[in-house]
Symmetry: C2
Subunit: 177 residues, 2 copies
DNA sequence: TAAAAATAATTACAATCTAGAATGATTGTC
DNA sequence: GACAATCATTCTAGATTGTAATTATTTTTA
């Protein structure tokens, strides 16, 4: 592709048309990092927090189903579930009808953890949105939601960028512009 | 948003207060992934594209200076610069005054590459902003810029989240909410 | 019903990547 | 001139991930 003819580029007239995409990537990385810190304070990694939340929202799913929603490989979930199960936060329940898979459920302790993570998420949201007025927040929230919907991103699902065809993964590296 | 059954919450009254932070992370990951695909088509990884752009913007900097701006370890730049230098896109010039460091400059081929990457970035921007009207784009761009400024993010720099104190890096994994 | 294919979870292995500490060359300071 | 500091580089250990192989169970096929 690389369509865009755009031969004429001026010297450096300040902010360019290339703005929204970069700002989204920049702020997204920042927000994810900040949340990572809060999650760490609560004793969880972001993947763990995401997994707990997904099970909380829809209990009883198999690991395959969850892996599909997360865009992760099923084998990646094994260690994740192991760790949280050993900490007594969730449990694998045998499915009596199909004993190949497990149904994942939160324990009481897991629900308590979700409460803590929920508070952390609320504090995180408040901190991120802090520079904006309530009216601006509503405005921004609406625009972002429309943008996400327009690109087919599902409301509750955070698709870590995965399996790109390119010669190198995207990685959180130096980034783009 | 980690809803947490908190006391007063109704069934499922749609979008919650915890919105902006998650949408930013979600859209940011999406935008970064999309850009990664375009960069790959042009023959570059996102880190490479970011490095080229930084040198293009401010030629003659040392690797340490660039590493500081990118939030990367200096040792990480070595391989990156090596690869681009072997492809003839940039060159290490000896600093006659201080022969410890190199001054990084683009070659003509490097500038051509920047043109291609600039077109890719423009196409990317257009694709990301596509769902919004011109007026909405201006609105969103302004809100995001204010948000970024409010959090001390510098205009052209993309701070990949780095060295978190927590037990586990954030990583692009299953994500949060 | 027996055999073969498919599916879920797991394990094993290889490839990649990164952080961090050493190394060598050069410069600045006292 | 000796010592500390700086820049680029190399090296090594550790972590992370993707792919393929393994085991148990179910479904399909002959």
């Amino acid at each position: 592709m690389l369509t865009v003819a755009a031969p004429g580029r001026r010297a450096a007239p300040g902010p360019k048309e290339t703005e929204i995409a970069f700002l989204l990537a920049q702020l997204g990385a920042f927000a994810a990092g900040q949340f990572g810190e809060r999650a760490a304070e609560a004793g969880f990694t972001p993947p763990e927090a995401g997994l707990l939340r997904l099970i909380s929202r829809a209990p009883g799913q198999s690991q395959q189903q969850i892996a599909a929603q997360l865009g992760a490989r099923p084998s990646r979930l094994v260690a994740l579930v192991d760790g949280l199960e050993q900490r007594g936060l969730l449990e694998r329940r045998r499915n009596t009808e199909d004993r190949r898979n497990y149904a994942l459920h939160l324990t009481d302790a897991g629900r308590d953890a979700m409460t803590v993570l929920g508070q952390a998420a609320a504090a995180h949201e408040a901190a991120i949105a802090a520079p904006l007025s309530p009216a601006e927040r509503r405005q921004l929230s609406g625009l972002l939601a429309r943008l996400a919907a327009g690109h087919g991103l599902r409301p509750g699902i955070h698709p870590g960028y995965r399996h790109l065809p390119g010669p190198d993964g995207p990685g959180p590296g130096p980034g783009r512009d």
